[in-house]
């Protein structure tokens, strides 16, 4: 941690505070006006009953009780929450794991590594609408690429997105395809910052690739790992677009791909085909998501930062 002007003379203290305030003000101002204020206004709705599209009366924690403990809402909430947890674990393991391996492979700067850097990031620039749509087509039970390939080895039409056991996995796969480049480049940027001397010294000591990867690279990219982990965590619990495009607002089939993002959006804004809007319950869900995600993030950050400093 840098200590700035700690050693400078006292009369400058107010100038230092002013300087820090000047640096922070623009960002804080925009945040307060366009994030904090609207969100707090929306959170307020969580304590109101909605009968129609306007709040009709203060009901305290009733909306929270409903979404957490009253069936069928509570079933839906926990079902969606479970899928967010699965998504987080799966993305950490498969997306970030693969990203680590690819970043390490790229670090070796073998012939062609530049073109691979470009390619791995290419899907990231596409919109979730395009990605979801493409993979929906590829996973189509009758015409899809995946099943046509499986057909060659004699496996029949698998309804990837239509089966409760495979739908979430298929959507996660599409998500990994879409975002793989991002953690890859963040981790690669972290790896590039490791001093060449350290790597050389390890090599001279006879460390192989595996030892290099686990003993040297992994601990030294702690700051990048922190960024990737936190962003994955927040991303998994705000997950919305790909499931929305691929499985619809209801998390079909049978809620097997429902996640909190979809559930809260559906509750707050309804859908033309399932029914009506309830800002009260929707906002209660959002407050709960906020408390959970912000709470865990704060704790995780403290832990991960400590790990960084220990290195």
């Amino acid at each position: 941690m840098t200590e700035g002007w700690r050693h400078t003379a006292k009369p400058f203290a107010w100038r230092r505070s002013l300087w820090i305030a000047a640096l922070l003000t623009p960002a804080l101002l925009v945040m307060v006006l366009f994030v904090l204020w609207p969100l707090l206004s929306a959170f307020r709705f969580a304590f109101y009953e909605f009968n129609g599209l306007r709040p009709s009366g203060f009901i305290g924690l009733e909306n929270f009780r409903k979404v957490l403990f009253e069936k069928p809402y509570s079933d839906w909430t926990w079902n969606a929450f479970k899928h967010n947890v699965i998504a987080f674990l799966a993305l950490m393991l498969f997306e970030n794991g693969t990203a680590f391996l690819i970043a390490f492979a790229l670090l070796k700067a073998l012939p062609g590594h530049r073109i691979h850097q470009v390619i791995v990031f290419l899907p990231v620039v596409l919109s979730a609408v395009i990605v979801g749509f493409l993979w929906k087509l590829f996973l189509h039970p009758l015409f899809g690429l995946v099943n046509q390939l499986l057909g060659l080895v004699g496996i029949g039409a698998v309804p990837w997105l239509g089966n409760e056991n495979t739908a979430l996995g298929s959507i996660l796969f599409a998500n990994i395809w879409h975002w793989l480049g991002f953690p890859t480049l963040v981790l690669l940027a972290g790896m590039q910052r490791i001093s060449k001397d350290v790597l050389e010294a390890a090599r001279l000591d006879g460390a192989g690739d595996y030892a290099l990867m686990t003993k040297i690279v992994w601990p030294l990219i702690a700051p990048s790992v922190t960024i990737v982990t936190i962003l994955t965590f927040i991303g998994s619990f705000n997950w919305f677009e790909i499931p929305y495009v691929m499985a619809g607002l209801t998390g079909s089939p049978g809620g097997s791909t429902d996640v909190l993002g979809l559930y809260f959006y559906r509750t707050a804004f309804g859908s033309t085909t399932t029914g009506i809007q309830d800002f009260g319950q929707g906002s209660a869900l959002a407050v709960l998501m906020f408390v959970f995600v912000a709470g865990i993030t704060a704790i995780a950050l403290r832990y991960l930062r400590r790990r960084e400093i220990e290195q």
Binding site: A105, L110, L126, V129, W177, A189
Partner: protein, 276 residues
Amino acid sequence: MRDRGETIRNGAIQLLLAGNAVIMIYPLFVMVASSFKTNAEIFSSPLSLPTHFSSANLEKVWTETNFVRYLANSVGITAASVALILLFSTLASYAIARYRFRLSSLVLMFFLSGMTVPLKLAIIPLFIQLDTLGLVDSYLGLVLVYVAMGIPSAVFIMTGFLRTLPRELEESARMDGASELRIMWSIMLPLARPALVIVAIQNAVPIWNDFFFPLVLITSDNLKTLPQGLTVFVGEFTTDWGVLFTGLTLAALPITLLYIVLSKQFISGITQGAVK
């Protein structure tokens, strides 16, 4: 012995990368190819090349939408938003990462909490807020919303990177009597280029692709963004998949081309952070 093992291992790594490349590229090829196909072709032979290259779908999009206007709007809005995100979040994260002050971790948590819940939830209060400021149906309103949405993750990433910069450089500049502004601008920020590049692309992509906020906030046709305009346009042909793919391809094309053209700078920007 060691060399042979090395060759095999490098071969395996090349194989991994090549396989990955195929998986990354192939779907894009299908998307582009499909934009030339008819419905029947897309369903009966989704993987083949189109039997004939018809530009009918392309012409339809070109003549029936305000394509150039939408494109210019999207470029302007994305560029302005990303520029402001970089500016504001760099300043803020510099303060958080490089100075020790009482509220610093609280400020960071405040920024972070801004990305823990989707702003979509607050669309109604946000709309009313923008309306009060006279910013509904204007570029500025949309840009400010994007800036507010982008700042949290940008501050998070930038803070993480800025913290890791060696403090010796800063200290020695300070000894030489450089001003704080000068230290930040000429010494520290150039070193943070990889993070700036990552933040820029991480924000440019979702802003470019977003159609939710324009749909709600923009109603004038000459202010519409490309994804918004094309979403509505493609909707008129809900069952014409060729037009749909053309719309998708055209919406994705500008940013994809831009990325490919700038990829050298992009990659070197990221990897330039290599120390020594």
